[in-house]
């Protein structure tokens, strides 16, 4: 692709990047940062290309290190963002459903005992039930 097209794409992407986050509330700053962080893990594509064209063992070793690091960024980034947002869904109850929220609050000591992935699935299920 020629330089002019690349420049056009870049400038348009800058404007899209500015535009999509311009009005976000401070509550979502952390998940948004984490989500953007996951997206640049797409450098994995570059790492795979370089590793796939490596002939020298040293080059391959460095490229594979890049693949490992990029995968950690990509996979870890999306997973950690999802975990943050799991919490947000729990609190997105419409005010009319306050009564339905009480089973959730009695469940809180239980989920406090195991803040791991198990707690996430039950909360997830509870959140689904709550939706109208």
């Amino acid at each position: 692709m020629d330089g002019m097209s690349l420049l056009t794409i870049t400038v348009l992407a800058v404007f899209v990047g500015f535009e999509v986050v311009s009005k976000v509330s401070s509550t979502l700053h952390t998940p948004l940062m984490s989500g953007a962080n996951a997206i640049h893990g797409i450098i994995l594509v570059g790492a795979i290309i370089v590793a796939g064209q490596a002939a020298d063992p040293w080059v391959l070793a460095v490229a594979l290190l890049a693949v490992v690091l990029a995968t950690a960024n990509l996979v870890g980034g999306f997973v950690v963002t999802d975990r943050m947002l799991e919490m947000f869904r729990g609190r997105q109850r419409p005010p009319s459903n306050v009564g339905a929220g009480s089973p959730g609050s009695t469940g809180s000591p239980g989920s406090g005992g195991s803040p791991g992935s198990g707690g996430g699935t039950t909360r997830d299920a509870a959140a689904k039930e709550r939706r109208p």
Partner: protein, 457 residues
């Protein structure tokens, strides 16, 4: 042999790029955020499958093995990490992404002799290395592996200037003759610059630096897209670079700071953080039972949660205390400072995890005028976000940061571990005021004791 022709490849990359835009858009609203994140992950999956089908690749078993290792380490860590440790994990993931971009650029150096491609390589190397090392330092600060205070020394600005000049020099030579040795030198200079950039940043500014480094990694990835001639990397990296810049500015604005002030304030020698000694003035410390009486016979209580609550994993106990007080007919709200916890929005995540009802979580602008009507403001493990020095002391490192006006409440109760100053390293005059009561101890232990005492009233 490849399965996809260039047109299909370009179309699938375009689809992935569109997914990333939708992901960022979705993350703007709590309602669509989770779906947005999943769309982003879908886009990434499409892109990775596309690269396997469109480029002739050797070493595929090795590559798949490396992907398995990377996901095998990162996914469980991301699943199991405590909510309180999330900020440093984001920093860590950001750093390794920057490192990966720098390594990709390094390996591409021998494949090109075009000066403008080499320019993109030099940029990726330098910015990727800065992001890697800088994120490493922020990780160490947040994880408590080193002091969270700003670290400065007299020669720091000079050293930084020397490192940057050397980096520019090495970069020019790499662009001219493609020297691998100087590219490695550049990598090392980038690492040193990253460390020097973050060391002088302390206090509550660390999350803003994480966000800034996140934007840096985005730019490095965009430049690597130019190096590899890959439009998806260019678009995705540019999106993150641009949105990350806006986000960094928004975060800084929520704290009443400017990004330039945070990054270069310490270089100017204006930082006073960490210089204040703990004074020996008397404070009123009290027992859990006394605090329980104050709370139990109040009409309106506002709980101000801070980082100490998060560290002690006390969010569930705080939620229980709120329910116990509500059961006594007391009006209870949580006042959430935008940067309570250690990242903007962090406290909302923690309290939502503890099932605190949405209606009880009040943002700063909404609750600040209501402290006047509160009988007790219960400050749990927070310090800087309620420190009146932000309004009154112009030399203070937090001067100008909006605070929660807890001093307006009739009584202020602090649950604190010790008299040690908060994250920003400055004393809180409010601790010595006559309406203030202190209960020393770990936030969760103190809350548990107070909860027990409230139930026994």
């Amino acid at each position: 042999m490849t399965l996809l022709n260039p047109t299909w490849t370009a179309l699938l990359y375009l689809a992935a790029a569109a997914c990333f835009i939708l992901a960022l858009k979705g993350l703007n609203s709590p309602r669509t955020a989770r779906r947005g994140n999943l769309i982003g992950a879908l886009g990434a999956l499409v892109a990775v499958v596309t690269v396997f089908l469109s480029v002739k690749l050797d070493n595929i078993p090795w590559i798949l093995g490396a992907i398995a290792v990377g996901s095998g380490v990162a996914a469980p860590v991301a699943r199991r990490v405590q909510m309180t440790q999330m900020p440093q994990l984001v920093a860590l993931f950001n750093g390794v992404g920057g490192g990966a971009a720098a390594l990709v650029a390094l390996l591409e150096l021998s494949h090109t002799d075009e000066p403008w491609v080499r320019l993109a390589i030099v940029f990726t190397l330098l910015v990727g290395a800065v992001s890697f090392a800088g994120s490493g330092v922020t990780f160490a600060k947040l994880q408590g592996l080193m002091t969270t205070r700003p670290v400065t020394f007299p020669g720091l600005p000079v050293l930084m200037a020397v490192v940057l000049l050397a980096a520019v020099g090495a970069g020019v030579v790499v662009i001219l003759n493609g020297s691998l040795v100087l590219a490695l030198v550049l990598l090392v200079l980038g690492l040193v610059a990253g460390i020097l950039l973050v060391l002088p940043v302390g206090g509550a500014d660390v999350p803003i630096v994480i966000s800034l480094l996140n934007a840096f990694t985005g730019l490095a990835v965009a430049a690597s897209g130019l190096v590899l001639g890959n439009v998806l990397l260019l678009v995705a990296g540019t999106l993150v670079g641009a949105s990350g810049t806006i986000l960094t500015r928004a975060m800084a604005a929520a704290m009443g700071r400017s990004v330039a002030g945070i990054m270069f304030g310490a270089f100017k020698g204006g930082s006073t953080a960490g210089s204040t000694a703990v004074s020996e003035r008397p404070v009123r410390s009290s027992s859990a039972e006394d605090v329980a009486v104050l709370l139990g016979y109040a009409q309106r209580v506002i709980i101000v949660p801070g980082y100490g609550l998060a560290v002690a994993q006390g969010q569930h106990t705080a939620a229980e205390l709120a329910s116990a007080l509500k059961a006594r007919g007391i009006e209870v709200d949580f006042a959430i400072h935008p940067v309570a916890g250690r990242m903007p929005g962090h406290m909302n995540v923690l309290l939502a995890e503890a099932n605190v009802p949405y209606e009880s979580l009040k943002e700063m602008g909404e609750i600040n005028s209501e402290f006047k009507t509160a009988d007790v403001a219960l400050v749990v493990g927070a310090n800087d976000v309620v420190n009146p020095a932000a309004k009154t002391t112009s030399g203070s490192p937090i001067y100008g940061m909006p605070i929660l006006e807890v001093a307006d409440a009739r009584q202020v109760v602090f649950l604190k571990r010790s008299m040690r100053p908060g994250f920003a390293g400055i004393e809180n005059e409010l601790l010595y005021e006559p309406q203030t009561t202190l209960l020393f101890g770990d936030a969760k232990d103190s809350l548990t004791k107070v909860l027990g005492a409230v139930k026994g009233l």
